[in-house]
Symmetry: D2
Subunit: 332 residues, 4 copies
């Protein structure tokens, strides 16, 4: 499988490193607009041509698939051109700047029978795979809440606010492990330094009283990457900053005895063992790109395809609208 | 100073223990409605009469002040009766069930020249005192955000939701260390087990782009008590569960260079030393009750007086209204 | 069961509090040499006579058992007098200042059919009980090592070095969970501030290549209470400072394939799940004293009897001898 | 500066990566005995010849310096050959298998005016630099103790025990930050799986009552990298596994008032702020190799020269002797 990679900034080098080391893939060319980044790419990969014109790369007939690793506002144009030129596309998260753009790309890929994969890397980590497996086995029981905190100092981006920068991680994981669609969103946030929100909070209402909450912040003195998931049977904490024991599953919960009347209401707390499963130790991005190569070969859509990317973009659009109206409920 | 204490449930024993050990105060009687709790009180304090009728205690002429340590919905009636009988009152948080009740009590105390203190115990901890001192010295600079997480498994209360149970701590601390009043509130949450929300999130908008956020949860498998405060000059993390080093102050921040146009915008991150100040090691409640005795003696109002309690109740009322409307903005 | 308690310093109040709250025991008198401590005792327990003469208390005929909670160098004289007066004795750790004294007390108790219990409180914690249970079930496999660190700032004692102050905890736990006797001891340490070692390290050789190590320090800026136990099948970490999850059991280990010759030696590491068992939440001292009352009633010796106390004293004596000879091997 | 690198196993790739990226150095050839490692080297560095014969590399006249990154037992032969061929040498830790070998190499380098650097990488980390700076500024005061724990699961080495594998790190750091030489060593340890000790403890006696202790273990279920240093003025904890705040300096200590007689002895504990200095964020190995290139260019010996390496080897030899005699004191 021959790849062209567009963008060699922060994340692009990881894409190229993995695509060159995976058995069934090669990188035929890299396109990058910044001359500094082009120099770094050329030094690291002397055997790969590094050009500035993405269009030239997209038009090469020996390339099967394009990885779009450039800023969000360029995704739609580049992915569209790639699809029109018969290339499969791997697009950085978030998929597109608007839901409309995402829908158009999905339709185009369908028409041309091409694959789209959106880079929701976290879905390929040992932790998220294990959580999904637990949900599949109904180990947690009916979901009560999903609560994620993703804060640190920087990076500020020029083109998007902190929700569009950090929340796609949480929304794509939530979308993967909760087998239901959120019905409505409430978001709040604040701008302090420039024209984009740097602190934001998002609540998502799900059917059957499930609720999700996401806290993202570019101005935190400490880095936090913690997700709590509470279910009827079990609860878990995923702390992605732990070297070992990232995932802790608690045999804890609440049982309620509904006797006659509110004064007879009895809440029992169940406090049992904690269990930290050994997690698969693989580089998530390598697993994801290997899967993309397989999807192209087999002609099957990935679970993190354009539709998955679109669902996240729709939630981001709704959250932005809610945040601009200071917490107004926006239905999805 | 002679005290009567109403309520010997979860918190009452701490009030009695401190009031009996402080030099200038004595407990003349305890009133408690539950016979089991009365037995416990009598065993622990054989020398103090323990009765079931709070009214009897309130009418005793040798008692100067009443501590109301009973459920929220009883605060107003008991405190009002105490004030009408010429007693000073120490009331458990939250002050009252409604802002209207709080206003009436404040007016009554003013008319009768009596003191009201609301039990915002955290304001008397070494950590909160140090944060307040830093704010007073402008060590943090202009405030960007205040973000608190207070989650654990239980306790469920019959009479209030998780916001009214846990958020008064955060709201009273926020009210004490942020020298500005919130303008509006957005709250979201969900009920899972009975008729009260057990998971809730609250955003408060302050003037000049400051924002506060509070995350409270009765269904978390782990206990978290963490507050982040971000300012222009410094940022801090207060983790109340740390045995030592509860407070960490970071010489970290962001500076922005506003050159011409948004594309020249340069954000610099400043990453410096961390400093964990040695905190005063005193029992907060002892300090608070000693201060109450002083306030009564001197005839001066406490900083955690009825007005402080009322400000918190107003925020809780607004938050409840917002939560019932799924995140609608409610002005204060 | 009627108790007399000698000593109301640091630990004595906990003994009295528990003995007065346990169903089948009462405290008839407290003896304490310091007038300040006597005042504190009298204020806390107005109904119990507090005297200065321990001898008077020992001679009272209505007292069944004496708790000796005074400095180490007084244990032998007080316990001996108590036994001679027909009282059962509960003695603070370490049991005695010399092995000879311990042996004499054991013999005396045997002759008079009285019970001795040495206060090895940690054996009654949920963590140590669980470790012992795991050893009983052979969950760890053949023992490789036991390694404990117990360091903090202070307390300096006038009469003993840091080994005699802190190591009895570790030695009594080790003695309880390792079902073998150490063969020899090596100890090193150093004095910095006065005539007693304030930093010390102890190695104990056990049969079949098992080894134990204890690190005690009065001069550490941070408090550490961590024990690692490595076995052939499983390994565990006990961190007593954790509020929850004090005990973590690792399904980790090493397997060795002995093919022909050293160059074919293959070491496999096994890395599996971690499991943190829910521990019993009881006050250890209450459990221990309840057990003492039962032992007296039933006439059976406790597992933490004088013999257990003597084993610890013998290890301390050997360690002191080794330390004074700068690490010389001392056989037990 | 033209380098030849011998060994491309676990650590060699880091040496090559840094030597190829540093401005003033180039790698002309890599020698590696394993064909699998040669393949990995060739794939990663297509432009550098990878050979199996180290001798050939050593004899190349265009090479200025040799990096010896092979097992300990090969260091002496390879370094000697390199020096005899007029090359500077960078040798992996520990320097040599015996002190005698080290002395011979140092003499040879002196005779030929060549530089030896021993790879004590930790001396180039931000944490160790900061500790050394604090010692230089007498911020800690008179040293009381140095206590290091370095434990994890694996790696087992065929040729050396856990002391020779892990303790060189601690010994080289201790040698660098304590400005005194140890006088004698006591070491204990145990073998469980093969013919080398996998658990070991080492005490070093320094002049003026300073003491050092090192705990190394290949059989620990958890990774620990913690060093405590106690001084008269301040104490510090260095936890190398912390992402941030690796170093914490405590304004804590002990003061002793020597009034008349031991009973008047008063020990005061001083408990003040904690301070975590911001540490330089550089790759230590890159700094070390840059410094080596500078030392060669300037003709000056490094502080981590052969003599520094020899001091560590002498301590290891003494410790091995002590351990084989079960803790016998061995003078240095």
């Amino acid at each position: 499988m021959n790849f062209g990679v567009i963008g060699f900034g922060y994340w692009g080098p990881n894409i190229v490193r993995n695509l060159t080391s995976i058995e069934d893939s090669r990188v035929l060319a890299i396109a990058e607009i910044s001359s500094g980044a082009r120099k770094r790419a050329q030094k690291a990969y002397p055997a790969i041509p590094v050009i500035d014109d993405a269009g030239e790369l997209i038009r090469r007939t020996d390339i099967d698939a394009i990885a779009v690793v450039s800023p969000v506002w360029t995704h739609y144009e580049l992915a569209k051109a790639a699809l029109l030129n018969g290339k499969h596309v791997f697009v950085e998260k978030p998929f597109t700047s608007t839901a409309e753009q995402g829908e158009e790309l999905i339709e185009l890929a369908l028409k041309k029978n091409l694959r789209i994969m959106v880079d929701h890397t976290f879905l390929f980590t040992g932790a998220v795979k294990k959580i999904r497996q637990m949900v599949d086995e109904d180990a947690l029981g009916k979901l009560y809440y999903y609560d994620s905190t993703r804060v640190n100092l920087g990076l500020f981006q020029h083109d998007v606010n902190v929700l569009w920068d950090l929340a796609p991680h949480d929304l794509s994981i939530m979308d993967y492990v909760i087998k239901a669609s959120p019905e409505a969103v409430v978001a709040t946030g604040q701008k302090h330094l420039n024209s984009h929100e740097d602190v934001a909070f998002m609540t998502l209402y799900f059917p059957e009283n499930a609720i999700a909450h996401i806290n993202v912040n570019w101005l935190s003195p400490v880095k936090v990457r913690t997700t709590l998931i509470g279910g009827e049977k079990r609860m878990l904490v995923w702390n992605d900053l732990e070297a070992d024991e990232k995932l802790k599953v608690y045999d804890k919960g609440v049982q309620i005895d509904n006797n006659e009347g509110v004064y007879d209401l009895l809440v029992h707390y169940r406090s049992g063992d904690m269990w930290s499963p050994h997690l698969e130790q693989v580089e998530a991005l390598r697993g994801e790109l290997t899967y993309f190569v397989e999807c192209i070969a087999s002609g099957k859509d990935a679970f993190n395809d354009g539709c998955a990317g679109l669902r996240v973009v729709k939630m981001l659009e709704a959250a932005s609208e809610s945040m601009s109206k200071r917490g107004a409920l926006v239905y999805l």
